[in-house]
């Protein structure tokens, strides 16, 4: 199995699988992905509900109505691929919010800010897939961060900003591997051919970390071994996340983002400290 070592904790994994491969993963906890909502609703009618922990809809150009009455309360991800052109498609999925906790996964690509604003205005939570952003995208991320932090009408979180901010606020940072659902201890992704790999940007990585290692050990021994990670002031909240897959990615831009969130957390503490008691 690519990306894993000996696997005594197999049953603890959550597997993200295509809907066509659900039958091969009986008894395991699954996040199921599909392009067609009807395929999810039809194929999974007989599955034990406690086995399914989430669903991912890979195409927004579809009708999600079949999911409305299917597995009420099941978290649903709407996966966007081209935010610059797909954002109008979010309107057709608003009804999901009455039946499922629903978030929109938006890749950080040119024009993504517009998609974030539409998603938030429709009351979807947002999960940014930041990739390894170039300087122009860092500027757009700063703009979106300001929108998330300061726009009074924003009522849904924009991850990863939200959890990083709270981590700074409470002086209790959570690595981005956790915030962005890429924790190698718990997640495995199964491709259309049935091959398993580590999740997200770790796809194809062969780990040398023991299966029962904690995340701190994963970070120390594999995830944050790049030179720039050593002594980085934001290592606790990043965990080396931005050094994958390109290990030579320069982090100056993302450090700027972390710094802004740290400043915002400090400002929040000052504000609350000045609250009348």
């Amino acid at each position: 199995m690519a990306g894993t070592t000996a696997d005594p904790s197999m049953n603890e994994f959550i597997y993200e699988v295509p809907v066509e491969r659900v039958a091969a993963h009986q008894g395991q906890r699954l996040i199921i992905r599909a392009c067609e909502p009807a395929a999810l609703a039809t194929a999974l009618t007989g599955e034990p509900p406690e086995q399914i922990v989430g669903a991912r809809l890979l195409s927004l150009d579809t009708d999600s109505e079949p999911l409305n009455t299917w597995a009420p309360g099941l978290p649903v991800d709407l996966v966007m691929t081209d935010p610059d052109t797909e954002f109008p498609l979010l309107y057709r999925h608003v009804e999901l919010l009455d039946h499922h906790p629903t978030r929109v996964i938006i890749p950080v690509r040119p024009g993504f800010a517009k998609a974030v604003k539409v998603a938030i205005s429709l009351n979807f939570a947002v999960w940014l897939e930041p990739g390894q952003p170039e300087p122009a995208l860092i500027e757009e991320l700063v703009e979106v961060m300001a929108f998330y932090l300061r726009q009074p009408t924003v009522a849904q979180p924009v991850e990863f900003f939200h959890s990083v901010l709270l981590g700074f606020y409470h002086d209790d940072p959570i690595p981005l591997w956790v915030v962005l659902d890429t924790d190698p201890r718990y997640l495995r992704v199964v491709d259309d051919d049935g091959a398993e790999s580590l999740p997200g940007r770790l796809a194809g990585v062969v780990a040398t970390v023991a299966a029962n290692a904690d995340l701190g050990e994963w970070i120390a021994r594999l995830l944050a071994t790049a030179d720039e990670c050593q002594g980085c002031e934001f290592l606790a909240g990043c965990g080396g996340y931005f050094k994958w897959p390109r290990r030579d990615y320069p982090c100056v831009g993302v450090k700027h983002l972390f710094g802004l969130l740290r400043e915002a957390a400090a400002e929040l503490r000052r504000d609350l400290g000045s609250a009348p008691s």
């Binding site: 999960w127 932090l149 009074p152 009522a155 924009v158 959570i174 924790d183 504000d271």
Partner: protein
């Protein structure tokens, strides 16, 4: 939260409710923070005093830092298994709404209490 609900809470919970509400109103009055930020800071991670620190349903083990902020000390750490935004209150334009999720055990640990302090 209705007055009836408030009256049914132990004294320390009522006090916590009032404090959170006052802090929320103060931050809102500044008009410099989003409701997502305010809700996250004031409501996200609050563990009700006296509550069993063990979450149920295999969702993990919750700890309370003593600063109104807690965290999961046992996994799984991911969106699907820990109480995150999707069972948190949100602002719906005129009041805070506590979405009545369907109490599926895998994302809403039994130790999580979010039914009263956001009204």
């Amino acid at each position: 939260m209705s007055e009836k609900q408030s009256e049914s809470l132990p004294g320390d919970l009522v006090a916590m409710d009032i404090e959170v509400r006052e802090r929320r109103e103060f931050l809102l009055s500044l008009s410099k923070w989003s409701k997502a930020v305010i809700g996250g800071v004031l409501l996200g991670g609050a563990l009700v005093p006296g509550q069993d620190a063990k979450a149920q349903g295999g969702a993990g083990v919750w700890y309370n830092s003593g600063r109104g902020w807690g965290g999961w000390v046992e996994g799984p750490w991911n969106w699907y298994n820990r109480p995150r935004w999707y069972n948190r209150p949100y602002w719906r334009g005129y009041d805070w709404y506590d979405r009545p999720w369907y109490n599926r055990p895998w994302y809403n640990g039994g130790g999580w209490y979010n039914g009263w302090y956001n009204r």
